[in-house]
């Protein structure tokens, strides 16, 4: 069985990517299972989807814990432990990262024996800033080639099936990029190999515990602290970030802070400060600031600088 896991952010089309690959594999006569993993997280939050393919009926279900191929639509997720990109990655696992950095750089950075491929081989005109919204289909196209199980025409047909609710222009944009990604990976066709199934002879015994009976003061779902959500780092959802130009800020002391939905702007001595731990990058503050003192910067570039 082939096990493929897609990682991205809410809104980046990971469900769509898994559906394109799933349908392409189905058209190539495989038994397939694909599913997105839903949670309480929203747009920008790390999410994943998965695809299983086999020549026989698939009985395995649920999250893929030992993937043969991991596809990452947003490179910033690799460093986020809660995104779980590297969970269960073994020696044979292939990684594809939608990054413009070189594959070799990634391989060294991650210190992995596993083969790592990046998007650098795909033309910049397709993956440039406008191309970002197509990373889902690019990932699906690359994954289709890397498995070596899907013909070009299967991919094309899968895209038409899965994107039929969109306009022809959008469909064409997606098709071009998915096929370019597919072609660019031609050298690596079939790099992905099937993982072994678990052996009932030699397995790691689960470390079961007897769950103790605790007092109801801790064993009921009650939170006795206040404002503990401040510990949740929703700043990781951000794709763009607001930046305050302190020279332009008039110190009105209320507009950005009042309108920020996430209580992420604190006003200290009439000066607003953005709490990047919680800012989700909605950019309401930029739009509302009367002095136009807030600008938008790309999160990746902001992190690097």
């Amino acid at each position: 069985m082939y096990r493929i896991r897609f990682h991205g952010r809410g809104g980046q089309g990971m469900k769509m990517a898994s559906h394109i690959l799933g349908t392409a594999l189905f058209l190539a006569d495989f038994e397939v299972q694909d599913a997105p993993r839903f949670g309480a997280e929203r747009r920008g939050a790390p999410i994943f989807a998965y695809v299983r393919a086999d020549t026989k009926i698939i009985n395995e279900r649920g999250i893929i814990t030992s993937p043969d191929l991991v596809v990452v639509a947003d490179e910033s997720l690799v460093a986020l432990p809660q995104a779980g990109v590297l969970v269960g990655v073994e020696e044979h696992t292939v990684l594809f990262i939608a990054s413009r950095e070189d594959s070799v750089v990634w391989q060294q950075r991650l210190m992995l024996v596993s083969p790592v491929l990046s998007m650098d081989v795909i033309g910049k005109d397709l993956t440039g800033s406008e191309g970002q919204k197509f990373f889902g289909t690019i990932c699906a196209g690359a994954a289709a080639a890397l498995t070596g199980l899907v013909e070009r025409q299967h991919l094309e047909e899968a895209i038409e099936t899965e994107l039929k609710q969109f306009s022809l222009a959008i469909l064409a944009e997606n098709r071009t990029r998915a096929l370019a990604a597919y072609d660019a990976m031609a050298l690596h066709q079939g790099l992905v190999v099937e993982g072994k199934s678990r052996s009932a002879d030699d397995y790691q015994r689960p470390e079961w515990v007897i769950v103790p009976s605790d007092g109801s003061h801790i064993s009921a779902p009650a939170i006795h602290g206040s404002g503990t959500s401040a510990l949740a780092q929703t700043g990781t959802w951000r794709l763009v970030r607001p930046q305050i130009d302190t020279a332009k800020c008039k110190g009105c002391w209320w507009v950005c802070s009042t309108f920020c939905p996430d209580s992420a702007i604190e006003v200290i001595d009439h000066k607003p400060q953005i709490q990047y731990d919680h800012c989700k990058g909605c950019m309401v503050c930029m739009v509302q600031c009367p002095a136009r003192a807030i600008s938008q910067v790309d999160e990746k570039e902001a992190v690097i600088s």
Binding site: A40, E41, R42, R43, G44, A45, P221, I223, G225, S226, G227, T228, S229, A230, L231, A232, Q233, T234, W237, C252, W253, W254, V255, S257, T258, F259, C260, P261, D262, S263, A264, E266, V267, Q275, D277, H278, C279, K280, G281, C282, M283, V284, M286, V287, Q288
Partner: protein
């Protein structure tokens, strides 16, 4: 009409520290969350928020809560009944001296429009019948947002939702919850919009100063369900008020007063064109729908007395 002089005279009087913590799982640009934190700033932490199933149920996910006051999730249909139980218990403890007066809490119900207009309506009506001392806040994002924006009884006519994808969108009309609640004669009733924070602060301040059933409908622009860019959340709210789609008003001592009457209202298209859920209305065959909407808004406002306005 104001019983006491408001401390919120100018924007600079608004609270500038947020009582609600960040780190919640609401969508980026959530207009409902923005309105709720603005309300919570005024209400403060001596509150117990009794919640019905909806988006905001995900505010408190173990072990994280943004509240520095208390919280109780009940069920979709019965949050007001939960409020009844909490209020009664607090009163009992107060009368038996098992709770000091300074430790008493304001009981607040927090529900979405799905519960408020639908299965929660009966429980709400009962609470008003019994004259319960509580504050009810309905954040109105005009659909069942938490399940992916199916239409609710609060969905406006013509809006596209995931269960009204036909050419003309939702066939029903937005339920007039304000008038239904008014017919139950609560102590106080008001509509608020997070994009008009001064108006909001004054109303919450007033609601807080009163006792008995007090009801608030908070407009909650939803980037996910209404299909607009998150950064437009506040602008959508402003446009809803300035086009007259969402009238800001209050009901007190038997009278309804509008708290923001526009000298010149903006045309409703200004509001509609910014949202994906209305995009189909701009097809030629649907032009009549926009005309009907405009006419309905005009009729509404022609009935509103222009005197005694506040702003």
């Amino acid at each position: 009409m104001q019983t006491k002089e408001s401390v919120y005279k100018r924007p600079r009087n608004l609270p500038h520290n947020r009582v609600l913590s960040g780190g919640t799982s609401m969508c980026a640009g959530c207009g409902g969350l923005q309105a709720i934190h603005a309300i919570y700033d005024i209400l403060g932490t001596n509150t117990v928020t009794v919640n019905a199933a909806g988006c905001m149920s995900l505010l408190s996910i173990y072990p994280f809560t943004p509240f520095s006051g208390s919280w109780l999730f009940t069920a979709m249909a019965s949050a007001p009944a939960g409020a009844q139980g909490v209020r009664d218990a607090l009163n009992r403890r107060l009368s038996k001296k098992r709770l000091q007066g300074e430790d008493d809490l304001q009981v607040v119900v927090l529900t979405g429009d799905g519960s408020a207009n639908g299965m929660g309506l009966s429980a709400t009506s009962g609470t008003i019948d019994r004259g319960l001392d509580f504050l009810y806040i309905c954040y109105d994002n005009e659909g069942y947002g938490n399940t992916g924006q199916q239409f609710s009884a609060a969905t406006p006519h013509g809006a596209r939702t995931t269960t009204s994808k036909g050419g003309q969108g939702y066939c029903g009309d937005k339920k007039n919850l304000f008038n239904i609640w008014k017919a139950n004669s609560p102590t106080y009733l008001a509509t608020v919009c997070g994009a008009e924070p001064l108006d909001l602060a004054r109303k919450i301040e007033k609601a807080k100063s009163l006792s008995g059933p007090r009801m608030i409908i908070a407009f909650a622009p939803c980037p996910t369900g209404w299909q607009f860019a998150p950064q437009e959340a506040i602008n959508i709210g402003k446009l809803a008020v300035r086009t007259g789609v969402f009238p800001l008003k209050e009901y007190y001592e038997g009278k309804v007063q509008h708290t923001a009457v526009q000298g010149k209202r903006l045309p409703v298209v200004d509001y509609l064109e910014k949202q994906g859920r209305f995009s189909h209305l701009f097809r030629t065959e649907n032009e009549y729908l926009i005309k009907e909407m405009q006419a309905e808004i005009d009729t509404y406002w022609s009935c509103v007395k222009r005197d005694r306005t506040k702003e």
